[in-house]
Amino acid sequence: MQGVIKVEMNMKSIATRKSVRCLMAALAGICLQSVVTGAESPLPAVQMTPAETVFALEIARPLKILEPLLAPETVQAFSASPIWARIEEGPQFQGLARAVGFLELQMGTDWQTALKKLVGGGVTLAVQSSRETILTIEAQDANSLDQFIQSLQAFIKAATQNNPALQGAEQVVHGVKMTSFGRRAAWALADNRLMIANSVELMERALELRANKGANSFGKSAAYTAARTAAGPDAAAIFFADMTTVRSNPKLQQALAKNLTPLPALLVGHLREAFKKANWLSISLDATADGIRIKAVADAPASEAPRFAVPQANDGVLPNLSVPGQLAGISLYRDLRAFYQAKDELFPERTSGLVFFENMMGIFFSGLHISEGVLAEVDPHIRLVAAVQQYDPEVGIPAIKIPAFAAVMKLRHPQEFGEVVEEAWQKAIGMASFTRGQKGLPGFLIDRSTNKDVKISVAYYRPPKDADLKALEPRFNFRPTLARTGDYVILSSADGLARQVVEAVKKEASAGAKPLPRTHTAAEIDVNALVKAAVSSREPLIQRMMIGQGRSREQASEQLDNLLTWLDCMEKASLEGLEEDGRFVMYLTMKLRAPDAKRIKSPASSGGSK
């Protein structure tokens, strides 16, 4: 689709598409009309939508998004990807290619430039509670829009010449010519804009607001103004939701009323409570130098949220650790004691389960109370790390490789409580070994070593006699490890990762890392590393798709390649949750790049099964 394509127009084949025909027919009725009427400086499109708007998407700076997406190197890389190859094989591609070619021919430029010209002024979509919707597309200039409309004239004539009814009824509403089809569709051109609505009433109101300079419009409402301010002046796009109306949806009410299980409650319970009280939600998008940044703001006072996840004063999460082969890291600020104290409110249905949990913890922690004696000893700064494992060939390499995980916790009284934790860990390993023995399965051996200020206890399986050390069973991915250094205790699924985390913690201590103020959650994913790990685990993933989705081997392989291609577009992603101006804010930042088929190159299929 690069350059100008010579097109053979099959008018009938295009004209028979009903949806395209309707749109084109409508445009025929309004083409060549006076474009600019009314006010000299056009109102923002959001000020031409009614105040009762429930959802609104305003792409105020489309070029910020389009420029990198449509850059030649991006287009070229995408065209070389397996995803594009699949799209080209699709039944509708030829029709799309012809339409785009026609557009290029008529606009006298490539489709990328044509698209930028047509939508470069902005796109706004607004949805009312009655599902009435209005779409406004603003061109970069009047000429671009005119050129586009004119280019469709011949096209439209053929579509409507036998169906005059499709040309619609015209009327002038507040100085703008509007074309309508019954009461359920209407179009108008005003101020370099093409406006399309699925309701004549909505279109009339929009034009009225335009005539009244947006008085009492959605765009001037306090809620949207606040959301726009929170999004920042440079946001390329903003999505707004009126949560008061949205929450009246019965399914959402039911979902919000349902209690979370403990782990989700710990991770996002405070955000959910804010969500329940928010008046509005805004999600904005901005393009950065090498990716995008999404900001979500909920209008609910953070001061009313459960306190276990709200940092005090200038406290906040510690920066994520960095270890070789890291896949992901999460840094949390969670006061575990405060969390457990709120358990009756957060998950009241699980009280009997919690009683069992408390009793078990009492066994592991030798009679200490779970809240006052155990959780109170854990500092709110908690970090988790996932990394690709490095295996020692002399110890053995599993056939199926599973990443290693580690939890890093700071203790308030590391000297005393560190030993309590170690004792509890040894009990847990012993219990696991005993339970395995009951099933005739091998248990763990434990090694403990002390090196300067680092104490490491490793539990591991003995490889069976005559085992193939290059293809051990999956359980050999697990070498549960407890490491203690300074104020920290590290629980890991593998000793290799535990040692790396110890080094990272020491390095951090010597550099004097400071907490990120008011930040309660910070997560990072190295998507590049994740893709590499998935590529090295192709075969199990393909087999899983074969039986889980009914794919043939070739289909599963292709589907996996497509998924990896999409993931390959993202190099890294990070998520930050913090308190800003009294509200909870989440930032999602993605570093993007053009996909490269070589990075996800699939090995030759072994063939056989259909």
């Binding site: 005739g440 199990p540 087999q543 039986i547 009914g550 056989g608 099964s609």
Partner: protein, 471 residues
């Protein structure tokens, strides 16, 4: 909806009966088991070909039916017993898929791969027989609780499914899954485990009435010293009982191998297996007279060759007669695969396994020690409604089964005027009652033009017919 019992009555005669009862040939046992030789009175017909592939496999593809019509019944049976395709390569590929985790008790993935294997195998008769032996021995993961042990056990069944029974019995008796299931993980000389030898004698071989309490205890002594340790069967020498034993009228220092051999080659064992295979391949509805089975029993008892026995049954006059035709209710596995395999469809077998469990057949977990109850027990109001629902979901595509089915390709196979006719030929060889035919014709089809949603709905309707529930 017809009752289960009504489904097992002989069906009303269609205008052209595919089978003609030759009463003379059926009254003599030898005549019953003589090879079926089509003639003008008893021609080789499409319904008979379909009947063969339903019983010996999981339904026939259209090309298989056409080939069978061309080659005749004996050649068709030969092809089922000894397929021309490269079965060894297929086995290597499927054996390499997803080896079970030695510590997981979840057999979901292993089950899913077995269903996939049944759908794609070039040797469907062997998979039928593997399923037969799985039902015969009744070993359940509810007791075993280990996916790898169950997978190993099924592979052993498959390896010997069409071999010699003594070798099969010896192999499965050394499977950890069997010993765990029958509470024989540890059999000590001072207190040998009794449940395993009891099941072996009563259920797997000679049966009640052919052994005494003494025989049972002596058999238990012979099996002493066998332990399941870390998922392997090991013999602990000091726990073995090497003394003289009196077993079934014989005397000697019998060990487990000898006892297994004696039992496997006993005439009563031959009779038990022949009777079970009669029910599996011929009829669940009728109890065969001993005289009818005697020729089979005597022949089988010569060397306990399972393939030869199955071949005799499948080639016989009895098999291709009203005694056998549609005298079985399809199990859930046969029902689902009988829809998919003829259409050459692939499907997500993970959720299919769960769906079949809801219909009463969860592979790897026979509900009782003698296997699945079968027959009329497969059908009740609930399971019939579930079958119809399963058929609709399989044929309409979409989650969770994601059935990949090219309806256009299906239609291109046939010279039939419309989709409904082709499906009736493909699945039921157009042998349905007048009432069923009228019901089908009332459906709105697009007659000649393939319209996928209509054809899928029609197919689901045909799969709900009483005739389709019968094998």
């Amino acid at each position: 909806m017809q009752s289960a019992s009504s489904l097992l009555r002989p069906l009303a005669a269609p205008s052209k009966r595919p089978l003609t009862m030759n009463k003379n040939s059926m009254s003599e046992p030898d005549g019953a088991w003589a090879p079926f030789k089509p003639d003008s009175q008893r021609p080789w017909t499409l319904p008979l070909a379909g009947h063969l592939y339903r019983r010996a496999g999981f339904g026939a593809r259209w090309d298989e039916l056409e080939n069978a019509m061309t080659s005749g019944p004996q050649a068709a049976v030969d092809g089922l017993l000894n397929p021309a395709a490269d079965v060894a390569s297929f086995d290597r590929l499927f054996d390499s898929y997803s080896p079970a985790d030695s510590e997981s008790k979840d057999t979901g993935q292993v089950l899913a791969w077995w269903l996939r294997r049944m759908l794609e195998t070039p040797h469907p008769l062997r998979e039928r027989m593997t399923l037969f032996w799985h039902d015969y021995f009744g070993i359940s993961n509810i007791e075993v609780e280990n996916a790898r042990d169950m997978q190993h056990y099924i592979r052993t069944l498959r390896r010997h499914a069409l071999g010699k029974f003594p070798e099969l019995l010896s192999a499965v008796a050394s499977e950890p899954a069997m010993l765990i299931c029958l509470h024989a993980k540890a059999s000590r000389k001072s207190k040998p485990a009794l449940q395993f030898p009891e099941t072996l004698l009563k259920q797997y071989t000679i049966g009640a009435g052919h052994f005494t309490e003494t025989d049972l205890r002596e058999a238990a002594r012979a099996f002493a010293g066998r332990y399941v340790l870390q998922h392997e069967v090991k013999i602990i020498a000091e726990e073995q009982d090497t003394g003289i034993k009196q077993f079934l009228g014989r005397q000697g220092p019998f060990g487990s191998a000898e006892v297994l051999d004696i039992l496997a080659r006993h005439p009563a064992t031959a009779e038990k297996i022949v009777t079970r295979l009669y029910r599996w391949f011929i009829s669940e509805a009728d109890t065969p007279k001993p005289e009818l089975l005697r020729p089979l029993v005597e022949d089988f008892a010569r060397d306990f060759d399972i393939a030869r026995l199955v071949g005799i049954i499948l080639r016989s006059n009895c098999f291709f007669s009203q005694v056998a035709y549609r005298r079985r209710i399809k199990s859930p596995v046969e029902f689902a695969l009988g829809i998919l395999r003829p259409l050459n469809a692939t499907v997500a077998t993970l959720p299919l396994g769960n769906a079949l469990a809801e219909l009463g057949q969860e592979l790897f977990q026979p509900p009782i020690a003698t296997g699945w109850p079968c027959g009329r027990h497969w059908l009740n109001t609930f399971t019939m409604a579930k079958r119809i629902q399963l058929a609709q979901r399989l044929l309409n595509g979409g989650a969770p089964f994601n059935t990949a089915l090219d309806w256009n390709k299906v239609m291109r196979q046939t010279r039939s005027a419309d989709g409904a006719s082709h499906l009736l030929d493909l699945w039921l060889q157009n042998d349905i009652s007048t009432a069923s035919r009228q019901a089908v014709s009332r459906l709105k089809t697009t007659g000649g033009k393939v319209s996928r949603p209509n054809l899928a709905d029609t197919a689901a309707f045909i799969a709900s017919l009483p005739e389709f529930q019968c094998s």
